[in-house]
Symmetry: C2
Subunit: 212 residues, 2 copies
Amino acid sequence: MEKKKEKISHAVIRRLPRYYYCLTELSDSGITKVSSNMLSKRLNLTASQVRQDFSNFGEFGLQGYGYDVEYLKSQICSIIGLDKVYSMIIIGAGKIGTSLANYQAFEKQGFKVKAVFDKEPENKSVRDEIPVLHISKLQEFVNSNKVDIVVITVPKVQAIKVFELVCALGLKAVWNFAPVYLSSENVVVENIDMSESLYMLAYKFNDLNYNS
Amino acid sequence: MEKKKEKISHAVIRRLPRYYYCLTELSDSGITKVSSNMLSKRLNLTASQVRQDFSNFGEFGLQGYGYDVEYLKSQICSIIGLDKVYSMIIIGAGKIGTSLANYQAFEKQGFKVKAVFDKEPENKSVRDEIPVLHISKLQEFVNSNKVDIVVITVPKVQAIKVFELVCALGLKAVWNFAPVYLSSENVVVENIDMSESLYMLAYKFNDLNYNS
DNA sequence: TAGATTGTTAATCGATTAACAATC
DNA sequence: TAGATTGTTAATCGATTAACAATC
C-alpha cells in the first residue's frame, strides 16, 4: 500500500525487476546488508540513481548503515505487486501458448494459469489441471471467473481482433507475444517482441564491426 | 554503408525496428508516400522525433513531399542490417531452443540456424537440416564455420558459464533467453527477459487499479 | 506560384549525476 | 565520537519538442 504521489517514470519501473533479482540473489547468498553503492555496482547503475529510484516509493534505508536486504526486498516485492496472486488466461494454444501453460516458474511466483483458449482446442498438450477451451467460451469464462491477465499468443493476423475482444470484455492487462504493438486506454500492455530484439542485435552487431 | 558519425542513442536504435514494421505495412498496402507526420501518428511519436531519428543516418526525404515508402524502407532495412544473412547457433536444446530452431520466420529474414548444441543432444526434435551436437563440439564447429550470433537458451545456472565460453571463443553477438543479465566488452548482447516483462505488467496492472 | 514538408537549429523537458546536510 | 551512508536538493546531461528557413 504505497502512497503514489506522482506517476513514476517508465525508466524507474523498468529497473524494479532488476532490483528485485539482485536482492533475491543477495538474500539467497546470506547477505543481510547492502548499500546503494554496492547495488549500483552489481546493476551497472550509479549509487545516486539507486537512491533516487527508491525515494520515489519511500524511505527504505538507514543513514550511515545502508539497506536491510530482507526488508528492502520485501518492499520492492510489494511495490511490484509480487506479493499477490494473479489469475491468467492464455489465448492461443500454439507452441508458445502451450509452453507458457506448462511452464511452472511463473506459477510459483503467483501467476496462475486458469485456462487456455483456442479456435481448435482438441488435443493440445497442456497440464491436466488447465482446461483448453474453445474461444467461443471466453466471454462466459470471464463473466464467471476472476481474470487479471490475458496472455495473447495467437498469430499476428488474429492478435488485433483478439485484443479488441479482450478490451470489450473489460479486461485490464495484456501480455502480448504477437509481433504487433497493441495499445488501448485503460488497458495495460506488455509486449514480448522477439524480432524487435533480434533486429536490435543485428544492428549492434554491425555497429560493432564498423567501429573496430 | 552508412557513415557512422557519432554513437547513436539507444532510444533511437530501439525505434528502428518499429519504423521498419510500419514501412512494411505501408508498403504491403500499396502506399507509396509517407510524411513524418503520418509515421508519427502510426507509431505514437512526434513528427519532430521521426525526422530527428532519420537525420542520424542521412537525408531520406524530399522537402514538400515526404518520404518514398520503398526507398525509406530499403534504407532502414540496410541501417538495421536486414539486407544481410546471419549464421546462428543455438546453445540449449530445451523447449525454447528447439522451438526457435523450428521457427521459420527468422530464417526467412536471413537469420539462419546452423546447429544446436546441448549436453544431451540425443532425441531432440529439431528440423532435419539442423544438426544437434554435443556441447563439446562447439569449439570445433566455431573454428570451421562462420558464426555470427549465438542464442543462449540454457537454464539460468548454466547461462553464465556458457556465456564465458562464448566470449572466450571470440564470438561477438549473443541473444540471451536465460533470466540473467549477461554483458561483456566487445560482445553485443540482447536479453529476452520474460519475467521482467511480466513483473512490469504486474506493476502497471496494480498502478492502474490504484489510480481509478 | 502557393502549399507542404523536410532537415536542422534552438528551446524545453526529463532523467541522471553530483553534492551535501542529516543522522545512524 | 568518527566514519559511513542515506535522502534530497541542485547541477548536468541528453532526449524530445518546437520553430523555421530551405526547397520541392
